[in-house]
């Protein structure tokens, strides 16, 4: 277990920090992640998800749970904050990834119009729900949902090519 911790915790902490934007809270969330991984190890199904995706998804979900349980939600990060330059050095996550599939997703996101790209990134990296995305974009909830759903449909079409 410690081996797994050493090998994966930096990336998982990066994910927690990306969502929570608060070092101390991200460290707490990281602990939740490993306690949760330990408790739910038997539910991991290699046929359904790669181990790394499973771990990363738990990290993102635990962080979003924390984010949403905050009494005062913070919307400090700008919408475009999702665009980060990837590290050149491959890590366990990159290597574990099915390279072609991963590039396909990124390629498909890049094909979307800028607005849809930003929304998907803000949802994914900042853990924003529909209402928060609408608030940030300053548009009615229904309008935003329409945008997002169109973007997701286009993404799906592209992924099926």
């Amino acid at each position: 277990m410690r081996t797994i911790f050493n090998a994966t915790s930096p990336k998982l902490l990066g994910i927690c920090l990306r969502v929570l934007k608060d070092r101390e809270e991200a460290e707490d969330a990281l602990q939740d992640v490993f306690v949760s991984v330990w408790q739910r190890a038997s539910s991991f199904d290699p046929a359904k998800a790669s181990a790394i995706t499973w771990l990363a998804t738990i990290a993102r979900n635990r962080s979003i749970d924390r984010l949403r349980s905050r009494k005062q939600q913070r919307f400090s990060a700008p919408l475009e904050d999702g665009l980060e330059i990837p590290d050149d050095a491959p890590d366990a996550f990159t290597l574990a990834a099915d390279g072609q599939g991963r590039q396909q997703l990124k390629g498909c996101i890049a094909e979307l119009e800028n607005r849809a790209q930003s929304m998907i990134r803000a949802a994914f990296f900042d853990g924003l729900a529909y209402s928060q995305l609408a608030e940030r974009a300053g548009v009615p909830l229904g309008t935003l949902k329409g945008w997002m759903r169109r973007g997701l449909r286009q993404l799906r079409e592209c992924l099926q090519k």
Binding site: L13, Q31, W38, A41, S43, L95, Q103, I109, R156
Partner: protein, 240 residues
């Protein structure tokens, strides 16, 4: 893309709130295709994790996690035997994940800083009689419950996950030794860890290869002494 796939994408991204979120959760429980679709989207979106920079956790993070796991294993209400059962269970679960991700870890190890920590393992080394464990699963209940049995103390520990019963129905646990008829181990609820002391004659049925099954029964349990309702989940015992 159909509506369910769209909902799965929204659910995976965590966009949903309120009624829409409830709907997705309902579907998640009722429709086996839905969680699969969610997992597929999660796998797609996982490509984006590559864009996140790694951060080194603060010193002492691992120790803090170990303390939390030990805290759970040492739940104040437990007897010594139960504590050792829980510890075994924790260790067994850790083993399961370790095996599952071993290949990935081998890759990862080449790229992460060497292990500088000297923290002791989170579980005690004391030898206990081989524990028997069964993980019960069924079509509608992928991880219904985990059952651990200590042959030395004849103590049974049941950790239910998803076994909620509708009104008027209960869940009954059965032991089926090879070549023998099912024997009731009593009713199981979803309230938390449950412990039973097993009589010596019944304890002999707890062996590698015996099956444990969870059935749907009327309130009060099976009136016949044999399972009368559908078998919701089953699993066989194996040594830890």
């Amino acid at each position: 893309m159909n509506e369910a796939e769209l909902l799965a994408a929204e659910y995976a991204l965590r966009l949903l709130e309120g009624e829409e979120l409830m709907e997705a959760r309902r579907r998640s429980a009722d429709d086996p295709a839905f969680p699969a679709s969610v997992a597929e989207w999660e796998e797609h979106f996982a490509a984006l994790y590559e864009d996140i920079e790694a951060e080194i956790p603060a010193p002492g993070t691992w120790e803090a996690i170990v303390r939390r796991l030990d805290g759970e294993a040492n739940d104040a209400s437990g007897s010594t035997v139960v504590v050792s059962l829980r510890r075994k269970l924790v260790r067994w679960q850790a083993g399961a994940i370790a095996a599952s991700v071993a290949a990935v870890i081998m890759l990862a190890l080449q790229l992460t800083p060497p292990d500088r920590s000297t923290i002791p393992a989170p579980v005690e080394k004391k030898q206990v009689a081989p524990l028997l464990l069964a993980s019960l699963a069924g079509d509608q209940a992928p991880e219904a419950l985990t059952v651990a049995f200590n042959p030395e103390s004849r103590e049974l520990m049941i950790t239910p996950a998803r076994i909620a019963a509708p009104a008027g129905r209960v869940r009954e646990l059965w032991l089926i030794a090879p070549g023998a008829a099912p024997v009731s181990l009593g009713l199981v609820n979803s309230a938390g860890i449950q412990r039973r002391q097993i009589p010596a004659d019944l304890a002999r049925g707890f062996q590698t290869g015996s099956t444990l099954a969870l059935s749907d029964e009327p309130t009060g349990g099976s009136p016949t002494g044999q399972p009368t309702g559908a078998v919701l989940a089953s699993g066989s015992l194996s040594q830890v």
